[in-house]
């Protein structure tokens, strides 16, 4: 039989967070985390986890749906309320379709029914951590792009808004009652200020800054 050692490139600070009230299951999941070379933090209740520094939680959370006190679904809702985007893998002791649907609706990466083979769990952990990483990267890029855009003066911003909607320089000049020359100057200045060399780059910067926000068209 051919099999490969499960070797995954994980972001250095990603952690596996576990919430399960069954000690044996918790220990087994800890072993899985160690095997994946992930730091593991184990909690016995959802309330305990919520007291944790959620803002800096990086990686992925595995939570049992049935817990004493607050259950897995309620925790998912609570995390959403606190706008914590940590990806969640829900594990459940008994196949309850409505509960599983509800967990997915609340944004779970997946719902696994106990017992599940390791081969089923690890890809989901990988996927969740990857999701968390790309989410963080995107939000970092967004912050960066927003920072660059914030440097613009209101007048430059005005021109930028028109460029985005596909207005030509001539039209912009007419609309703002300025000469074509003045518009061209202003446009060159704003591109220098945000540090781009082409309209295409400018457009992608604007897009990055707007990521995660609903545009009026949607």
């Amino acid at each position: 039989m051919i099999r490969d050692r499960v070797e995954i490139q994980m972001p250095s600070n990603a952690t596996l967070y576990l919430i399960d009230d069954d000690v044996a299951v918790s220990r087994a999941l800890e072993a899985v985390g160690q095997m994946l070379r992930l730091p593991v933090l184990s909690f016995s209740s959802a309330e305990q986890f919520l007291k944790f520094d959620l803002e800096n939680a990086v990686g992925c959370l595995i939570v049992d749906i049935k817990l004493p006190g607050m259950n897995g679904l309620e925790l998912q809702a609570a995390l959403r309320e606190r706008s914590c985007e940590l990806p969640v893998i829900v594990i459940s002791g008994h196949a309850d379709v409505p509960l599983a649907v509800e967990a997915m609706r609340l944004g779970a990466v997946t719902v696994l029914e106990k017992p599940f083979p390791l081969q089923q769990l690890t890809p989901h952990i990988q996927q969740a951590i990857e999701l968390d990483r790309s989410r963080r990267e995107r939000s970092q890029q967004r912050e960066l792009a927003r920072g660059r855009m914030a440097a613009l003066t209101p007048r430059e911003r005005e021109v930028l808004d028109l460029i985005i909607t596909g207005t030509t320089n001539k039209q912009i000049a007419a609309q703002l009652h300025l000469t074509l020359r003045a518009i061209e100057d202003r446009r060159a200045r704003l591109m220098r200020r945000v540090g781009v060399n082409s309209v295409a780059e400018l457009m992608s910067l604007v897009q990055q800054a707007n990521l995660g926000e609903k545009s009026p068209g949607e």
């Binding site: 099999r3 490969d4 050692r5 499960v6 069954d22 044996a24 299951v25 220990r27 087994a28 999941l29 072993a31 899985v32 160690q34 095997m35 002791g93 008994h94 196949a95 106990k114 017992p115 599940f116 083979p117 390791l118 081969q119 769990l121």
Partner: protein
Amino acid sequence: MANTSLRATRHERRILVSVAVLAALVFVMDVLLPLGVASGVLHVGVVLIALRSTSDRMVIGTAVACSLLTLLDMPLSPGPGHTEWWKVIVNRGLSLFVIWVTAILGRQRNRAAESQRRHLSELAHLGRVKTAECLAGALAHELNQPLTAVALQAEVARQRLVGRNDSGELDDALREIAEQSLRASNIVRSLRNLVRRTESERQPVDLRELLDETLRLMEPAAQQAHVELRSQSVPQPLLVQVDRVQIEQVLLNLLQNAVEALSLSAADQRLVTITMNPTSPREVRVEVSDSGQGIAPELTQRLFDPFCSSKSHGLGLGLAISQSIIEAHGGRLWLMSGEESISQKSSNPGTTFAFTLPVAS
């Protein structure tokens, strides 16, 4: 099954023989003695024996036979010599009347008893089905946890062995452990799915009527335990869309618990109260209270868990089953704390269970 039906036929045959012998005796007596209508009374005895049978044919057949014998007696009995003809006819008429009234009333009674028995056995059957369901569910849940741990740990161990020399046999063993623990849990799961498929038939029912029926079933046990059952309800119907037998099972279960909880109380303080009230246009609430010692605080947390019981007998599934039935109907079942309850005014803390059901739309 075969044994039961054989016993039933033997029982029927014995009744038939007694009926025939007795009818013949009465006939002979009637012919030989100048007793007139008194013989009719003896025929009633024959009909009463026939009523011990559950078959309608036996009862009606006996009544017809007794009637024919009564009429046949008329010319043979020594009556005409001493009595006028009209008296003889009236006597015989009265005799026939008594025979048929006995037969018809007796048959009605038999039927009522039969339907009551069927009802009880239906409830008992549901109880068994629900018990199996609850057992399988609890078993599956309790076993799944350790089996998950076993399967995962075995797989992790296999991963750790990769690259080491001579790990082939160990690897096979570990793989087997992982696979077999998954197999075990699949077996438990399919067992649970098997018993889960209980059909539920919902229809609009007046909850007050359902309570009356349940109280009738409970009354003998309550009397035996010297417990008074008191019910309070509203004058208008409380229509709910439910599976009759299942809700009756819940009521019966709560009533049984309440009656049993009073076994240690003083005889004059054994009271179980059931109240039914609409709490909103869309919900009916039922409360079952007893005047007993209350439930130990350390037990209240686990009260609805399967296998949690304070009794020396029983599996501790009653409340777990009741709760699952009520929740399947879109309601809630819970233990009320002392102050919350409306119906509890005695010095004892007592126990009150309450459940809600959505009103039929």
